[in-house]
Subunit: 236 residues, 2 copies
Amino acid sequence: MVKPIATRNLHGQVIHELGRLIVSGEIKPGQSLPREELLAERMSMSRTALREAMKVLSAKGLIESRQKTGTRVRETIHWNQLDADVLAWRCESMPTEDFVEKLVEMREIIEPAAAAAAARRRTAEQLVAVEAAYEAMAAARNLDEWTAADLAFHEAVLHATNNELMISLFSVIETALGTYFALSASTASNFKYSLPHHQKVYEAIRRRQPEMARQAMQKMVADSRSNIRRHRKAKA
Amino acid sequence: MVKPIATRNLHGQVIHELGRLIVSGEIKPGQSLPREELLAERMSMSRTALREAMKVLSAKGLIESRQKTGTRVRETIHWNQLDADVLAWRCESMPTEDFVEKLVEMREIIEPAAAAAAARRRTAEQLVAVEAAYEAMAAARNLDEWTAADLAFHEAVLHATNNELMISLFSVIETALGTYFALSASTASNFKYSLPHHQKVYEAIRRRQPEMARQAMQKMVADSRSNIRRHRKAKA
DNA sequence: TATGAGGTAAAAGTACTACAAATAGACGGT
DNA sequence: ACCGTCTATTTGTAGTACTTTTACCTCATA
């Protein structure tokens, strides 16, 4: 689930490093990178490996290379913002407040719709997966177990939509939940408070009640949104 | 807007070629590619260029390379289905009926929500962009002009949400509209029939009426969905 | 027979070099 | 002042050599 990012490869490290620099804004759009030969030398690596890393970044829409001109960082409009790596890099360097808002907004749009679709089309096996995740949440004895089960729950719901485009949005939910747990770590005491919400969603999906599922999920996300707000105020 | 796909680079071509083969299912998940040296020779290119192409595909989650084992196609779950290229490759080899359904479902979820958000948060400039696109649709004198303006309209709405995660979903809308026009080409005569829908959306965004915008957009998408259905039946 | 240590080879990963292709920008001619 | 041409710079491609990882085979041992 959560990838180790061990990335022991050389270009893996470089992808990560450059990606983070760009996404965090330390290298701004329009700005151009040193030419390959020089950059490779500066990072003490071969041009070959560097180029492979750059290809990956360009695949994610972060950079663009042209002969003679060199390589420049593209406008944020062109970034694959939904790419798991891009999202992760964005969160690494302290997610800004408004980014968290945007993540929550996405959840509010995606998840209720997904829950409804799941209630409509889920197979028996997919229901089992949702149930299993719910049970794991109920049984969780610490925050780690809870977060793992929580993620599994939301992923199972997305899978139950039987729409792979939907499933690909899991990267967003994953990131959103990740930052949520990071922000509301204070609630480590009663981390299970949202269990009833999850139960309602699960029940609605089981009973094939799309509208019920939508509303339950909507409440859950709205609740977690207000929770973040509360936490932020408490800290301010 | 629509990228030329000229992709004169060698590895650009290879990315496209391999990507299409994988996404279309001609090379199935789990299956492994010939080893780099051999594949490079078979495609009459250098290993260097081939590897750069493969890095891009692995960045999109399509393949995975490990030493000794070789390179294998990953399960579809891991594909970045929302990536513009992946979507395009998928449509190139005859989009299946259920894929079109999934695209429409995504539109039904995303666009009404986007319209509502745009009505809430659009700036003056963003409104101008939406208006300009609408005017262009009204002024369109042939199908090409219409499709271009239509795309611009939907893109402008997404931009007006001021949420870049939302904006990244434009690739999905673009693909959906593309296949829509491809399918309902028969309506080339009265291609402007959906103009009133667009007007309502535009008006609601102008007047900052989120719920109105949501409903108008919802109707628009629902209408185009039923239009596809009708067309399919007519053909069958 | 099972099991585990160790060796081997095969494939990807990295490095270096050389050259090709494109093109921004300078140069020069009209 | 304009327009073609030339040049230098930077990415793109190729080829080769070597390194690292690791699946799998071998064989000794329990």
